[in-house]
């Protein structure tokens, strides 16, 4: 890149007039600019490494210095006493939540996406639904909690006077409401990824809309929809605020026995521990985070695997 320095005495007359441009200053600016961009990019990586190191460090500290037993942690419910406290009930609570969340959100999410992408006429109502979706996706999670708190948890049967209360299903509803827009958007993306030509090809063959969707579009979009759903559920599993609003039991001392039981969950448990002044609980929180992150990474791994398989197929 040192054209301007003209290393050898010019040999031919053509070379004299050849590319008489001085670009040293330009190239210097370019290098500084690049350095800035690289530093910025590495900042995120650096922080992530710090974060993981910190969590692991605290977890190890807990195990090594404060005799937190991993076994107790994984098999026991929470307890007032740090040395007996475990994460088991929280894990089970989260798994239950996950199952009900998926059941509640998947079909509605995919159905809405299919309606919007495949059936909806291009009119005001459709545009309204679309705009509404964009908005729902940006509603803070805590607001969903608030909604479920008022509409479900505090729902009082006018006849019996019985209140629904902070049950697991309410938590699942909050999470489902939270991730339905995410599933819809991901499914829409996947459906849009199916080339329009394919649809027209099917319609022109004399297929109805539904035949087209069922036989051609959905099979092609399914891996994408699945990936999106897994990522959405992974998001749900780490959500804390809506569950707190719904009234999850912060100290999960008991494994929930069904959808109508009260419940605790991993993130609320972690919050509780992290917010306690006692240092030991702090380490428990770190251990809980390790478990939570492990599960999340596993789910992301599955999603990435699916996506890669899907992308190479296309």
């Amino acid at each position: 890149m040192t054209a301007a320095e003209a290393p050898e005495a010019s040999t031919t007359e053509a070379e004299d007039s050849w590319l008489d441009v001085d670009l040293r200053w330009e190239h210097l600016k370019g290098r500084l600019f690049l350095a800035g961009c690289v530093a910025a990019s590495l900042f995120g990586v650096f922080v992530l490494a710090l974060l993981i190191a910190d969590v692991l460090w605290e977890a190890i500290l807990g195990v090594v210095q404060h005799d937190v037993s991993i076994r107790t942690f994984l098999t026991q419910p929470a307890s007032r006493h740090a040395d007996q406290a475990g994460f088991y009930a929280a894990i089970v609570g989260s798994v239950w939540l996950m199952i009900f969340t998926v059941l509640l959100s998947f079909f509605i999410g995919v159905g809405t996406a299919v309606y919007l992408e495949e059936f909806a006429p291009d009119n005001r109502w459709t545009r309204l639904i679309e705009a509404n979706l964009a908005n729902l996706a940006g509603v803070p999670s805590i607001v969903y909690g608030l909604l479920v708190l008022a509409a479900v948890v505090n729902f009082t049967n006018p006849l019996t006077g019985g209140r629904v209360g902070p049950i697991l299903l309410a938590g699942a509803v909050a999470l489902a409401l939270l991730i339905t827009p995410i599933i819809i958007v991901a499914s829409q993306e996947a459906l849009r990824g199916v080339p329009d030509g394919v649809r027209r090809g099917s319609l022109a063959t004399g297929a109805t809309r539904w035949q087209t969707v069922k036989n051609v579009v959905l099979p092609a979009a399914f891996p994408g929809i699945l990936t999106g759903t897994i990522l959405a559920v992974a998001r749900a599993i780490g959500e804390t605020a809506p569950l707190i609003m719904v009234g999850a039991i912060l100290t999960a001392r008991r494994v929930p026995e069904g959808p109508f039981d009260t419940f605790g969950s991993m993130p609320t448990m972690i919050y509780y521990w992290a917010d306690r002044p006692e240092i030991t609980f702090h380490y428990l929180a770190a251990l809980g985070i390790v478990v939570l992150l492990t599960i999340l990474i596993a789910m992301n791994g599955v999603a990435v695997y699916l996506r890669n398989k899907y992308e190479t197929q296309q």
Binding site: G197, A204, T205, G206, P219
Partner: protein, 275 residues
Amino acid sequence: MAETDLDIEVDGDEGTGDSLETASTPETVVSTRNLDVWYGESQALQSISMEVPRNQVTALIGPSGCGKSTFLRCINRMNDQIDGCRVEGEVRFKGKNVYDGDVDPVALRRKIGQVFQKPNPFPKSIYDNVAYGLKIQGKTDDLDRRVEQALKRAALWSEVEGQLDSSGLDLSGGQQQRLCIARAIAPDPEVILMDEPASALDPVATSQIEDLIEELAEDYTVLIVTHNMQQAARISDHTAVFLTGGVLEEYGDTAQIFENPDSQKVEDYITGKFG
């Protein structure tokens, strides 16, 4: 074919529109009469009357935006998919106005196949691609034979014979387009509509498709839109020249259009003096 080319009779009366009372002579499969099409407020086609003869290749040419694709989409009512598209006048398929209330567009499309600009195989196996229309339409007896038949007609059989299970997307562009043609002809339609079927292909694949179109005309009525005047000249028996504003300026025997068009505007268009 050369001989046929010399003998073709031009249907010289499509301009008048009056002789259409006795609409469908055995030779005419698709005919339109005073066809107007609007997109919202803007008119895309103006009073098109035209008769498409059976088992021949009819090419539609004209400058961009003159309504060629719109015309094609009217025939199998794919325009129904477009919001704000309004059709007036008649489009007759075998004598029946396809815009009559009792005509089901889905049924219509089972009689009129279509091939699109960009090859659009389904992300399924080659076999399933060709079998798709047959399955949808319930023609599932003798499926294997029909699939083979269609692939042979589309001049693709020899190239994919051993790999019917591999994905249609793994084929080259030209092969994909022939697969789409096989898919369109498998349920045995009577008319095949093609909207610039070779414009996304390289010259070699294009000339394979062109050959194929000429062969298809033995069994099917082919209507093809093309941007490429030379392509229309090469492969079609009849040519319809649309001009800007959605007007059918001239329709007739291809050789006549390219050697001695009646309309000066058409002459200017095909000799490139246009615009």
